[in-house]
Symmetry: C2
Subunit: 448 residues, 2 copies
């Protein structure tokens, strides 16, 4: 009894302290702090935060958790929080919510938010429409600078997102993008001038259907910090900012790395193990089939292996180095394709370069391996067979490393997809076939 | 003769057309167009561009080409171009230039550029100091808004970099960062107010020594578009912008991917083959040694393989699936470490999760593999051996996939470094040892 009395006040004190601490933190830090809590605990934390803060925290949480919250928080609270979120973040949060629940939520939203969010939800997730936000300063190009300033001041009062950048786009009466207004014009030019006179008219814009990877490459190449998004009629519909692009770039790099080794869903260290199993098992099964294919190739040479069990010692070396060399080439190619450094039709000179490179590394590695094998087993002919198999397999590895990703690309498949598995399989099959064929030839020729 | 006359004007016409086209292009596009030309041709193109445009093109070229240009262009031209570049871009361009040439160039620069660039060149390339630019609007916090505006107007006239964002930092008399001035204050507040009254005083800044990967994670987590950089005394020394961070993120992802497969230098599809050989050969040699280690493990089981050559068929399957599963785990771990999603001391729960995951996938794959082996060879005991070897090797693969990167990290080595090679080696050694041990045990126990 004594103990319980001691404990209770301390617990609630610690709890109060924690709440007080959370309330003062940056939304991203709050998200990091609470993302591993149970759903009920998170809802409890949100009860202490006002709608505005909650609206800032939710987009920083993992996608699945956002969905769960949208499903399980009180409907009234959800419909109060959503209008406080940026439209793109709201659309993302609601993206995977069940149709019935989504209907309930959308029905209760103010009409402006309703339209913006339902517009955004129609675009594919990985298009400009899917990552852009609708919030943008759009002013008529027929206004004076003084009128433009006043219009922006009103907008800014509502929505105080950024401290140091304001993007002001000029549109005509049909909402078509006409130009961009520089801040220095707004700050330093005669306020009676018309927007259309001072705006920059050469504005790069992106189509609402553009792929997010292309957009990322555009941002990186030209160092933009924001680009306007237009629909098929040239109407301004939103903007993509560099922080959206940062997310895209990290996401695409992660996805490529994971796809290469055959992980079929987005995964992070915090993914539950059941989902990890589902992500990884499919390609492992494929790999099992290719593995039996490789075993079958080896089995064709059973007589040779029966005669010389030592041949089995060298299979791992041939396979390992071929796989490694193939993956080196593959990594360079997949990454260059993703970064837009190389086009689909530029594979020929690249193939030539990779063959030359692999011939050189193959000659070096093959020589070392051949000499080592000779010394170890004491059969010069085995050294020669190892040398030739290594050299040829590393050239084959280079071919596979280039042709697999370009081949996938020409089939309109992501060039990263399970590419490492395919290349490793190819180098194993080819390497073992070459090595065991040469060994059989040597055995037969020299009647060993 | 006729032909030559026909050809010559056409050639020079085409050349003139091309020059006219180039002059009007965006600097990044010019860079993309000329980066594969010979050095002399590039210099010829630069003769048609004014200093300002040339200064914009150079930073977009590959690093090596920038160095070559700085070494080989006329000294007078170089010293005219450098002051037109942003300080961080100039420091990067000059980073690998020979000391004598660098001395000649720096000597001829105006003193302001000289100081900014030599300051920047002292910071490590991958620190905040190495990626920041010195150009920043810094105003005394004792000014009025009107005076601040005037100061910024003067700065802007000199250096018209960005259209839509102006970052204004407030400093005290000792240059220490005190706050940031919001654009809306500059646009809409009473101009007689003091900067110190309206500025935001809670400003996140980064230390000039901060690592670029940490900075990238900070930008991504908090969606900054620019952050001030301060030295050890809190003095404002520059700023890092989101386009610097975009480059860092791409670079770090590329580096991690390449390092995992043992490519020791930065490589792209345009890297000359000689350098590719130098980049890839070292770890291939290490891999050759580990390959012989694996071969030696297999050789310990020579009697078993001599008796049953069929055992050799299953080595590739065991090796392939162990390697693939290990690389799946490894990829998740390396990426999460790079993104700062997991801390150095959080490996234990992760290890547990990976063991559970791999037990599940291993059980599934092992069962399939065991049944297939039984059906193929017709020996139920072989099926059991394959099943057990698969299961145990996939658990070993998970252990290797977690422990290799965390182990490297605890040795203060990049967790990506050759990690894929190490994991593949580990799973081969362990897998073959388990499989051949179990096979030997089965042979001896059942006197097969």
């Amino acid at each position: 009894m004594q103990e319980r009395e001691m404990q209770n006040p301390t617990e609630s004190e610690a709890y109060a302290l924690r709440r007080a601490r959370l309330v003062q933190m940056h939304p991203s830090d709050i998200a990091a702090e609470i993302e591993n809590l149970e759903l009920d605990e998170i809802r409890e934390v949100f009860r202490d935060l006002n709608d505005d803060k909650t609206a800032d925290v939710i987009p920083e949480l993992p996608q699945e958790l956002q969905t769960e919250l949208m499903e399980n928080m009180r409907l009234e609270r959800v419909t109060e929080i959503i209008p406080e979120m940026l439209s793109d973040e709201a659309a993302d949060a609601l993206g995977d919510v069940s149709p019935e629940r989504l209907h309930d939520i959308m029905e209760k939203l103010p009409s402006e938010e309703y339209e913006e969010i339902s517009d955004l939800m129609e675009y594919p997730e990985d298009s400009a429409g899917g990552i852009m936000q609708k919030e943008v300063h759009a002013i008529k190009d027929s206004l004076t600078l003084a009128e433009a300033r006043e219009a922006i001041r009103k907008d800014e009062d509502q929505d105080q997102e950024d401290v140091s950048s304001i993007y002001v786009y000029a549109i005509d009466d049909s909402q078509r993008l006409k130009g961009v207004l520089r801040l220095r014009d707004l700050l330093f030019r005669d306020l009676r001038l018309l927007v259309s006179k001072v705006m920059v008219t050469e504005v790069r814009s992106i189509s609402v259907n553009a792929d997010q990877e292309e957009i990322a490459n555009l941002f990186q190449k030209y160092n933009y910090s924001s680009l306007p998004v237009v629909d098929d009629f040239g109407k301004l519909v939103g903007r993509v900012t560099s922080d959206d692009v940062l997310d895209v770039i990290q996401e695409e790099a992660t996805e490529d790395m994971q796809r290469m080794v055959g992980i079929s869903g987005d995964e992070s260290v915090s993914t539950p193990w059941r989902r990890s199993v589902r992500n990884r098992l499919p390609w492992l099964c494929v790999n099992l089939c290719t593995g039996f294919g490789i075993a079958w190739v080896v089995s064709m040479f059973e007589p040779a292996i029966e005669q010389y069990a030592i041949l089995a010692f060298f299979l791992p070396i041939v396979g390992l180095l071929g796989g490694n060399a193939g993956n080196q080439t593959l990594t360079i190619v997949v990454r260059s394709l993703a970064l837009g450094e190389i086009d689909d039709d530029e594979w020929k000179p690249l193939l030539l370069k990779e063959v030359i490179t692999s011939f050189t590394t193959g000659f070096a590695i093959g020589t070392l391996a051949g000499l080592a094998s000779w010394l170890w087993i004491g059969m010069p002919i085995l050294g020669l067979v190892v040398f030739l198999a290594m050299l040829l397999n590393m050239i084959a590895a280079a071919l596979a490393g280039v042709l697999v990703p370009f081949g996938l690309r020409s089939l309109k498949i992501d060039p990263a997809l399970a590419s490492s598995i395919m290349v490793t399989t190819a180098t194993d099959v080819i390497g073992f076939f070459i090595f065991l064929s040469l060994a059989t030839l040597a055995i037969n020729t020299f009647s060993l």
